[in-house]
């Protein structure tokens, strides 16, 4: 009896099962999204992380083992990021007259995002390593990890922060833009992409192609701006 249970547990902890839980969780997330009529709170990425988090905690699987089992999924983030050029290509006509506002806005946004994260954390008594980790959270995960590492923060935690803010932005981004009265679709996409990278971009892509295209572009430009500005701003912030 216990031997059979052990074998069942071994299969449940295998890479194949972890992959199945991830894909199954994602399908559940998509199904819930449709069932809820596309409710903003039901982001498939959030549902999947909750399902997988509960599953690997219950099965007592190490995160490192989970990570290597799902390398197959994580791999496609690279090609998908490259593919963000496609909506932009289809929307290229809308770049006309927007290049200067766009570049200035990205730089202003990166400075505001980095400085405000550090100063707010400091005001509330966060430790130095936490401040350094929060500085990069608006960047896309690989940039957040690399820049945090160079700055002396906690790189894996930077990836987590980037993803949390991405999910948050996917949930409340469009509604917040309405409150801020930002009505140009290019500016809307730009703002969400600049503060919440690929996850925000994926929400905007579903809302509207122009918003998605500019969110993807903002993600790339912000990654560049943040990686260049963090070392400079760090000189007077720390």
């Amino acid at each position: 009896m216990t031997a059979a249970l052990d074998q069942a547990l071994e299969v449940a902890r295998s890479p194949l099962a972890l992959l199945a839980v991830t894909l199954g969780g994602y399908q559940l997330g998509r199904w819930l999204q449709v069932r809820s009529g596309g409710h903003a709170l039901v982001q498939p990425v959030l549902v999947t992380i909750v399902v997988v988090g509960l599953a690997i905690t219950a099965l007592d699987v190490d995160y490192a083992d989970y990570r290597s089992a799902t390398e197959l999924i994580a791999f496609w983030l690279g090609p998908a990021t490259v593919a963000l050029a496609i909506p932009l290509h289809r929307q290229a006509a809308r770049l006309k007259g927007f290049v200067v506002p766009m570049l200035v806005a990205i730089v202003v946004g990166a400075v505001v995002s980095i400085v405000s994260a550090v100063l707010l954390a400091r005001a509330l008594g966060a430790g130095d390593d936490l401040e350094r980790t929060l500085a990069t959270k608006a960047a896309t995960t690989p940039v957040a990890i690399a820049v945090t590492d160079a700055l002396g923060g906690i790189p894996p935690l930077a990836a987590v922060f980037a993803i949390i803010i991405g999910i948050f932005s996917a949930i409340v981004g469009p509604a917040t833009l309405n409150l801020l009265r930002i009505r140009d679709r290019r500016a809307r996409g730009l703002a969400v992409g600049a503060v919440s990278h690929g996850i925000g971009a994926s929400r905007m892509l579903r809302e509207d192609e122009t918003e998605g295209a500019f969110a993807g572009l903002a993600m790339g430009l912000s990654a560049l701006a943040i990686s260049l500005l963090v070392p400079v701003l760090a000189l007077w912030l720390f």
Partner: protein, 123 residues
């Protein structure tokens, strides 16, 4: 589908290569995205092509590809729980300030340089 994926992987590889050679602080896929954009513009690539079909299919599931990294949150639930106030306020506050800064700066400059768009009014 495979032809399109091959192109996307090739552009990522080229991006990784250039980022490494030029010692750029941005990741390879972001460089690959900018290169692919130039390629699509120069070739006047249309929607029936394999790159567009494969890329659009991947983008539909962009959120899925963040899951493996996102599950890493389980490692830090303790730390996040202990420091929930500074983390929460810093994340929320800088998110909102950043969003407003980018959106308002872009719209204000559009107004300064010409006519701003009001896409939602037309919808």
């Amino acid at each position: 589908m495979i032809a399109g994926l091959t192109w996307l992987v090739a552009f990522q590889l080229l991006g990784e290569f250039i980022a490494r050679m030029a010692d750029l602080p941005v990741p390879g896929p972001v460089v690959g995205m900018l290169l692919l954009f130039c390629f699509l513009r120069l070739r006047r690539y249309d929607d029936a092509g394999s790159i567009v079909r494969a890329g659009t299919a991947l983008l539909r599931h962009l959120q899925l590809f963040f899951v493996p990294a996102g599950v890493g949150v389980v490692l830090y639930l303790g730390l996040i729980g202990r420091e929930v106030l500074p983390i929460g306020v810093a994340m929320l506050g800088s998110w909102l300030l950043g969003l407003a800064a980018v959106g308002w700066t872009a719209v204000a400059l559009e107004r300064l340089l010409g006519r701003p768009r009001d896409d939602l009014g037309a919808a």
